[in-house]
């Protein structure tokens, strides 16, 4: 049994995840009635918020912070790779 995150850290993480979700929704301009492509900085903010959410979920909810740096790097690297694919596809669609 490894050291668990503790209630306080879990609650802080939950609040962070909720906040970042709202930031993503605001960045994506969901309040606009007309459908328009996002400015690139908004899209970048959505992707950055998503990456940070995934990192927090891995480290705290899944308690990966108790693992070795190699495993942390593997999982965070896979998230970064996935987000790079998403961002790359998005940019390719925007630029064509």
């Amino acid at each position: 049994m490894t050291a668990l995150p503790g209630t306080r850290r879990l609650l802080i993480t939950w609040a962070t995840l909720m906040g970042l979700t709202v930031v993503s929704m605001v960045s994506a301009r969901l309040n606009q009635d007309d459908w328009q492509a996002l400015p690139l900085w908004s899209a970048a903010l959505v992707i950055l918020a998503t990456g940070f959410k995934a990192q927090r979920l891995l480290m705290v909810y899944l308690n990966l912070r108790a693992a070795t740096p190699a495993w942390k790097g593997t999982f965070v690297g896979l998230v970064v790779l996935t987000l790079a694919l998403i961002a790359g596809g998005y940019l390719a669609a925007r630029l064509t």
Partner: protein, 189 residues
Amino acid sequence: MTPRALPNPGWGPLSALPGNPLMWVLILSEMLVFSAFFALYAWQRASETAIFNASQQQLEPLMGGLNTLVLLTSGLCVALAVEAVSADRIPRARRWLGGAMALGMLFGGIKIIEYADKFAVGITPETNTFFGFYYGLTAFHFAHVLFGLALLALVTWRTSTENVETAAAFWHMVDLIWILLYPLLYLLR
């Protein structure tokens, strides 16, 4: 980290991971599978940009956002259940697991409403490539939610630290996949 401090001694490279090592193998493989689908989606989007843009307008990103908040809160409940069962507070752990399952079912209910709305206006997986991905990816994820709910129900009945930790890891993986899926399908336009 010294060998004595390893969470799962005897599991070779996996011994450094917390919780059940096999669950981490599953998490890694699921992440790879979904990443491959995301790459395929990105590729298709670049070649059918107009169709993807027009189709994406017909989704309801607020519903997707609400579902994200619901699933993340459910994840908190599961994490608190792990804390409780580790402190030998079994009834409290079961209450947290019950809360997580209720929120998981709420997620499923919202998803079904979304599907019903789409089908009502004639939007099916065969409408176009975008909706093929939309239904395919979200239904595959939904199947994981249903399996996760069954796992949570099982460990609510057979409550032990190892069982709850294992089910919790699966549930968090379901969270993680949705976190990546939500902006891909609903937000980035």
